[in-house]
């Protein structure tokens, strides 16, 4: 596994970033026989040593918490304080929120230290993972397809822009991703949430079956969690085995040490290295896309060794940005030259704008009384519990808000009885109540589509720099009226669905969590047909610079309410196929 970059060589492609998009670019381009250089800003971790998926809480000195000099930001800190969040903190290390209080020690080397990676502007919970594989090492694994309700949303309701593709264009690539990586789920034949080519589905427990059956009467669906997890195995990949239902997925920040859950290193990068066509350089923070003064094309990238601070330049025939939605926009804005004074690929002025994501917060928790005191089922062996797809603004039109939302839910018995904190009292009665009720709870939280708006943007802070002297991002991102009205409906409908199913509602949460909390940041370099209003074309190629591609979530035109990872990978596969084709034809 080479870590050495040949600085004299011109690679066929330089891929910046190693997460879902970077890994997919490496896989597809090396499969086409291209010589690829992948640059990752973080370390290559011995990930199994970090995750320790089977470690019992009592075998950890702090039962999963971080060391005393380290502090994981809590959800509420993002709303109480202002960025940069680590500024003035007495702690030696301050980390992005990673399900605070839930095994944060296992993620401390995976997520960034906010002290080294500040950002400014409006409140925003920005979770970044700088290491080989990025956030795919700890992602939530919900793997959903988008549909023409999303790609053609603007035509349906008049807001924003359509995507320059339709479901028919991307569907074959979703199939490829399904088959290459493995996905678990149950066919439902829903137009708004197309089925994948599923492996064995996770099962439901009694409370979930009850809710599913009740929802049928409302014309709604509860489906087993569509997990980007191989439940039957992927025989072509020697780095992964199928899921054994061990169940650490939800107990901690995620991650899977047998790699049944997709992660970019074992799913994509190691197989790409095995082709002999991939050169991997970690600890390489890319600071600029360089430009050929004669042709105006991208000529490669400048990068900084993360440990030594030494700067280098690597040469590439093409450059693919896959640094994550906001980091790729930052890189384009950083790449200023005489040809591109506003940043490379930014003649439209749209880089950093049209930001969108998912809002989180509203949801419901309840009790299935029939299960109280019954022998508990083991519900901790599943990569996820259930998903409740969008039902708003499909056939009807809601008078209050545009677009829709879905719910992710969970129920039953895990390792830790969460009701131990909420059950009042003490003594034998308290202990018995915790025991009798532990398996009887069910809850779900919404993920809603945040409309893309030009006014929601990031730019470069004129003063603040990160540890390597690179200007940081400044946020100007706020949820709007549509989001607030949608959130209210999420809470109301969640309650209504539980009540209809005969589940006793314990708590309805109505508050919207801080912008960024969903870790589904999207947009900032959207695709489109009009170079004045978009940054890349349907193949994620810069309108201005033909050999520059942006292959991550930056190119989403709208957020949909479905989780983005599977779409990011399908789009990237399609674009890389196209790029290889164009290179062969001499068009790039």
């Amino acid at each position: 596994m080479s870590d050495e970059v040949d600085l004299k060589k011109t690679y066929d492609a330089i891929v910046v970033g190693s997460g879902a998009a970077g890994g997919m670019a490496a896989h597809v381009l090396t499969s086409h026989g291209m010589q690829v250089l992948m640059l990752e800003a973080g370390k290559k971790l011995n990930i199994n040593k970090e995750l320790k998926s089977m470690e019992w809480p009592y075998d950890h000195p702090r039962r999963g918490d971080m060391p005393p000099d380290s502090h994981p930001l809590s959800g509420s800190e993002y709303t109480i304080r202002q960025p940069p969040y680590a500024k003035g903190s007495p702690y030696k290390h301050v980390y992005s929120y990673v399900e605070d209080g839930n095994g944060s020690d296992y993620a401390k080397n995976i997520v960034v230290d906010e002290k080294d990676h500040p950002y400014t502007g409006t409140q925003y919970a920005w979770v970044r993972a700088r290491c080989l594989g990025g956030k795919t090492n700890i992602w939530g694994r919900l793997a959903l397809r988008l549909s023409d309700y999303d790609f053609k949303a603007a035509s349906r309701d008049g807001y924003g822009e359509d995507w320059p593709i339709s479901y028919a264009d991307i569907s074959p690539y979703y199939d490829k991703v399904d088959l290459y990586l493995g996905i678990s789920g149950h066919k439902e034949n829903l137009p708004q949430l197309p089925d994948s080519i599923f492996q064995r589905a996770v099962r439901l427990n009694p409370a979930e079956v009850k809710l599913r059956e009740s929802l049928v009467k409302m014309g709604r669906v509860l489906t087993p969690y569509r997990a980007g997890v191989t439940t039957d195995g992927v025989k072509h990949n020697k780095y992964r085995v199928h899921c054994y239902g061990r169940g650490a997925c939800d107990r901690r920040v995620g991650g899977c040490d047998i790699h049944a859950a997709f992660d970019s290193p074992t799913g994509l990068i190691y197989p790409a290295l095995d082709t002999g066509n991939l050169t991997l350089r970690t600890n390489a923070t890319v600071s600029e896309v360089t430009v050929d003064k004669d042709t105006g094309k991208a000529s490669g990238v400048s990068f900084i060794d993360t440990d030594t601070g030494q700067a280098y330049t690597a040469k590439g025939r093409t450059v693919l940005l896959a640094a994550s939605t906001l980091e790729s926009a930052r890189l384009m804005l950083l790449s200023k030259s005489s040809q591109y004074p506003n940043g490379i690929g930014n003649s439209s002025g749209h880089v950093g704008h049209n930001f969108c994501e998912h809002l989180m917060g509203p949801g419901v928790s309840g009790l299935d009384k029939e299960l109280v005191g019954k022998p508990r089922t083991l519900d901790d062996g599943r990569p996820g519990s259930f998903y409740l797809p969008r039902f708003r603004n499909l056939t009807d039109r809601n008078p209050k808000f545009l677009r829709g939302y879905g719910f992710e839910g969970g129920s039953g018995t895990g390792m830790f009885p969460d009701n131990a904190f909420g059950t009042p009292g003490f003594g034998s009665a308290y202990k018995k109540t915790v025991r009798d009720y532990a398996g009887a709870f069910i809850g779900m939280g919404g993920f809603g589509e945040v409309l893309p708006r030009y006014e929601n943007y990031v730019d470069l802070d004129p003063e603040v720099k990160d540890r390597w002297g690179v200007p940081v991002l400044r946020f100007q991102i706020k949820f709007g009226d549509n989001e607030k009205k949608m959130a209210a409906d999420m809470a109301d409908s969640a309650r209504e669905m539980f009540e209809a199913a005969g589940i006793e509602v314990l708590n309805v949460s109505r508050d919207i969590l801080t912008e960024g909390y969903s870790i589904h940041e999207l947009g900032t370099a959207r695709m489109g047909t009009d170079p004045k209003k978009s940054v890349v074309n349907q193949f994620q190629q810069s309108h201005d610079v033909k050999n520059l591609l942006v292959v991550d979530g930056s190119t989403h035109v709208s957020a949909s309410c479905q989780n983005p990872t599977w779409t990011i990978m399908a789009l990237c596969w399609r674009s890389c196929d196209h790029l290889a084709d164009e290179l062969k034809k001499g068009n790039v």
């Binding site: 928790s365 519900d379 904190f421 009042p424 202990k431």
Partner: protein, 171 residues
């Protein structure tokens, strides 16, 4: 629910720290509390989660030793002060109610002290009530993450390789 979030935040900010090797945890001598304070904390945790005919309680699960070890290494000195002061509050309340410190009170009197402290559990206001919340959260967290809590009390069957997922197939 806000109550839970507050409590979780409190304990997280409150119990941050470690200097010692893992093996040192659960050792007999308290690292922060005096022996008298430690005995009182041990009694309080056992009162919150006692042994019953189903499983052993907080004492057997060494809950007090875990709380003590985390506090000994806490990043903020205030956390240690709050806990030391919290134990004093319990003694003061016991003095007011029964004319004697908590550890010299009868079992019924101790229950009465805790009952008073737990009165407004979901909306704690007085320092005693706030300390009860913190004490209970720390006790529950330590107990249900202990060997006894996981295997004997909750009879948890997971964290093993399963041949089949549990539950019902969707039809």
């Amino acid at each position: 629910m806000p109550y839970q979030i507050n409590r979780r935040d409190l304990i997280r900010i409150g119990a941050g720290a470690v200097l010692a090797a893992p093996a040192a945890f659960g050792a007999d001598a308290p690292k922060f509390f005096t022996p008298a304070e430690f005995a009182m904390l041990d009694e309080l945790t056992e009162s919150i989660i006692p042994a019953d005919d189903h499983s052993p309680g907080a004492r057997a699960a060494k809950v007090a030793a875990y709380i003590d070890a985390r506090l000994a290494e806490a990043f903020e000195a205030k956390d240690r002060d709050d806990w030391r002061n919290g134990l004093k509050l319990v003694d003061d309340l016991s003095g007011k109610m029964h004319d004697r410190p908590f550890m010299e009170a009868s079992p019924e009197q101790r229950v009465a002290v805790l009952t008073r402290m737990a009165k407004n559990e979901m909306n704690a206001k007085t320092p005693e009530e706030v300390f009860f919340g913190e004490l209970k959260h720390a006790t529950a967290h330590a107990y249900y993450t202990s060997k006894i809590g996981i295997h004997q009390e909750m009879e948890y069957k997971g964290n093993v390789m399963l041949e089949e997922f549990v539950g019902y197939e969707v039809k």
